[in-house]
């Protein structure tokens, strides 16, 4: 029962995040990177449910990003990066009680990491699209946007998780 509800919660939040990112955030003329809502949601869910669920959420969210139109990149790249993010954030959340603002910092770092990671993997795979002169600017702007999104979203997602899957919190 608990696994089912947790799975449903994660799926619904992730799918919504992908749709909002593609139809609302990406078309708006933000300077630099597009705010990575999916990444922030993965961080928030991993912070609640730990490394295993975090890795699964990261993989699922990343795969959705890779296949949601108009995605044109290689399938699996975002999935790989977000799996690592979900695992690391989940692991960090498992040890002791972490204050929630630390996850804001973590989201910003993760956004910079995935932007750089995406460019590096693209470069290694010979993707002609990668523009190295823009990578640093994209890393900084995506980190900033991720921090802002995390400030807004971490607590609501934590609240939602406690409401829907209370068993996960009785250790």
């Amino acid at each position: 029962m608990m696994t089912l509800r947790r799975g449903l919660l994660c799926s619904v939040v992730l799918i919504l995040a992908v749709l909002v990112e593609v139809t609302i955030l990406a078309p708006l003329p933000f300077p630099g990177a597009t705010p990575t809502l999916v990444l922030v949601v993965v961080v928030a869910l991993s912070a609640q449910f730990g490394a295993s669920t975090g890795a699964v959420c990261g993989f699922t969210g990343g795969l959705l990003v890779d296949i949601a139109p108009p995605a044109a990149g290689t399938i699996g790249v975002t999935a790989l990066l977000l799996t690592v993010v979900g695992y690391v954030v989940g692991r960090f959340a498992e040890s002791d009680d972490r204050p929630w603002p630390s996850f804001v910092v973590l989201a910003a770092v993760a956004a910079g990491f995935t932007t750089l990671g995406g460019a590096v993997i693209g470069g290694l795979l010979g993707d002609p699209r990668v523009r190295w002169d823009e990578v640093l600017g994209l890393m900084l702007s995506s980190s900033l946007y991720a921090a802002i999104l995390a400030l807004v979203l971490l607590l609501p997602i934590a609240w939602l998780s406690r409401r829907i899957v209370p068993e996960a919190y009785t250790r």
């Binding site: 044109a72 399938i75 699996g76 799996t83 995406g118 993707d127 699209r129």
Partner: protein, 290 residues
Amino acid sequence: MRDTRRSRIILAILVLTSITLIVFDLRGGDGGITRPLRVVGETVLGSAERAMAVVVIPLRDGVESLSSLGETQQRLTELEAENARLRAELDTVDIDRARVADVDALIGLVDANDYVTVPAQVIGVGPAQGFAWTVTIDSGSRDGVEKDMSVIRGAGLVGRTIEVGPTTSTVLLIVDATSSVGGRLSGTSQIGIIAGTGRQDSLQMQLLDPLAVVDIGDVVVSFGSEGGRPYAPGIPIGVVAEMRGTQGQLTRSALLTPYVDISRLDIVGVVLRAPESPPREVLTPNSGGG
């Protein structure tokens, strides 16, 4: 303390799965194992994006107009000035029209009305950090759209469809670094390959003839492919903004400004069928006089 061994196994499995997906996607091409994933994406997520767009687009337009209030005023002044200038030009248009029709037939510029197009709204955009210039439009196979069809806006070329679902399609924009279009200068009929630079405001045209005479401001139109797919002939692509390399040099290229403002895509048209008659008429000795 939770079970760290279990989570490490999960991590390993997922990382391996991701890498496998990457390898298969790179090797597979259009008939690969990851193909069904793209079809599911285009069908399911595309439809969801389309449903979402109904609510989202008025909202997005609102935010956009708010953030560009100052710009709007300035633009209004510019447009008024342009309007006055165009009105003056209009007076001489009748004299020119007859001449233009002849020239058009010669150089292959096609009236946008000659194309059979299906209109579509841009509903989704790819993230900037992916470096890809692609958009989702709300027309798909149910509207007659197929893979590799030209997408235009107004009179200019926007891109081509690369993925088609039942109600949505993905369009690769001409500014994407993987896009290349055959084109020719409308004045001299010099041909070249127009590649995207990954920037929304510039295209690069590799000229095939290093001795070609190119003037700044020349219009480049699509050369057209067999059967008008993926690119229909005679659609304006860009205007020459800068020349790179001197005349006679082997690698001579022109920087073009795209004809269409890629950052302001809203309504586009997918070219279902190019005009019946070839846009460039074959000139024979007895076809003269027209």
